[in-house]
């Protein structure tokens, strides 16, 4: 598009809010009861986190990688691409995140639950629980249909937030390479919702930025502690 930089976000939005949320409705309807399997995977992430240890970290990374890969294909490529010309790029980004999770999380064991601070630990757990249990309720609480609920493992926003929560668990030595795509997605999703005038547009961006700040704060504290010991 010529002079694309002169367009506002709302000028670039190419679908209506009704069409966007109807996408989730049809997705949920067509894949029911996969949402239950996704919930089981989310609970498994929680259970593995409680168990702790390197093997649990690798298992968590594998679960998340599968979720990111599925959303790349099942949501972005199969569904979102029908109304958004950029969705192919989103699918590619989600595949990259899945590969990074396999590389850094499964193969190199960088998601071992070792939070740097108690605050990080609480925030990580809070973000994970928020993504699993609260995020799907936001739409219905705002008057949208239950059938349009966005659930972890199937919808991009709660999956990105849950991933950031997991990254905070492993905040002792943050796997920074796993942050950019979930954070960027949350910002992009927030911008899309803002352009659609959805009242919940700030939820995902604020949660993502909070996770980023806490991860950075934990890393700084750890670095200072390391220097004082040294």
């Amino acid at each position: 598009m010529s002079e694309w930089w002169t367009y506002g976000l709302r000028d670039l939005l190419m679908f209506s809010a009704q069409t966007y949320y109807r996408l989730f409705e049809l997705y949920n309807r067509d894949l029911w009861p996969s949402q239950l399997l996704a919930l089981v995977l989310g609970v498994a992430v929680l259970a593995l986190w409680r168990r702790g240890g390197e093997r649990a970290g690798r298992a968590i990374a594998l679960i998340l990688a599968v979720c990111w890969l599925w959303i790349a294909w099942g949501f972005h490529w199969q569904r979102y691409a029908s109304i958004n010309l950029a969705a192919g790029y989103f699918a590619l980004a989600f595949v990259v995140q899945a590969l990074l999770l396999v590389w850094l999380g499964v193969l190199r064991g960088r998601l071992t639950p070792v939070p740097a601070t108690r605050l990080q630990q609480r925030a990580g757990l809070g973000l994970l629980l928020f993504a699993l249990l609260v995020f799907p309720l936001i739409g219905p609480l705002l008057g949208r249909s239950w059938t349009q609920a966005e659930v972890f493992g199937m919808a991009p926003d709660p999956t990105a937030l849950a991933t950031l929560g997991v990254l905070l668990f492993a905040g002792g030595r943050p796997a920074w390479g796993l942050f950019p795509i979930p954070v960027a997605w949350c910002l992009l999703s927030g911008a899309t919702l803002w352009a659609m005038e959805s009242p919940d547009f700030a939820v995902a961006p604020l949660a993502a930025l909070l996770a980023l700040v806490l991860a950075a704060g934990g890393a700084l504290r750890r670095a200072r502690a390391g220097r004082s010991i040294g």
């Binding site: 598009m1 002079e3 002169t6 939005l13 190419m14 069409t19 049809l26 109304i83 958004n84």
Partner: protein, 307 residues
Amino acid sequence: MANIPDLTRRRLLGTIAAAPLLGSAMGWAQQVRPATRAIPSSGEAVPLIGLGSWITFNVGHDRVARDARAEVMRAFFQAGGRLIDSSPMYGSAQEVIGYGLKKIGRPADLFAADKVWISDGEAGRAQMEASRRLWGIPRFDLMQVHNLLAWQAHLPTLFAMKAAGQLRYVGITTSHGRRHGDMAQIMAGQPIDFVQLTYNLVDREVEQRLLPLARERGIAVIVNRPFQQGSLIRRLERHSLPPWATEIDCSSWAQFALKFIISHPAVTCAIPATTRVDHVRENMGAATGRQPDQAMRARMAAFVARL
């Protein structure tokens, strides 16, 4: 007030002839036909109201929404509409238009307007062919260079297609008031039939240069964003229509906004987009009845500016 004739003799006779067969079944025999305006380069008359598809027709694979858009198209054609406009930039809109045309039957007098939107001039023909297949039509009536993207590369192709009978008209588009300088340059230097631009009660920059130039050069004008993507109407609907709106047969703000646009002598057609059958009928109603004259247009713009 300028009173544009609602019924051409040909359309009136056609309507009367068809009424016994179609009227009761389709429910539109009694409807007043929309006023038309001639395309300067050919003299062909097109209704003053068309149908846009940006956002509204991008519904993806949603069968229910596709059927709803087909009903919008049916209502549009029943009310005398002809010109539908789309673009490869509009997601699934072309495909949804094609679905609608297949479902309700393609009217013989459909005026299919689309755009070429690709930076590689060599790929223009392939994109237009893909668009044609999505619409499911033998050829486009009008092909426009979308937002002037690679217009130097595309215009020679479009002129060649027109000469070969693969198109009937060639145009260029812009929106949101962008690149008016380039547009004026192309209008002055290229033998185009149409321009598409943004014009409404509050975005009136084109009145200064582009609309007079279109009249001078004999170029038809399609107006996009007549409601500023709905925001203008939402703003206006917080207020009551002025009582004098009845003098130009306006029953809604949408008609008020559209009559302002189509009463400009340089404008050939406005293309509001909608998802609702009642709205498409309301929009088409703007091309019937009395139209504002110059004094009334000034009054309308001043009234809206004060709100």
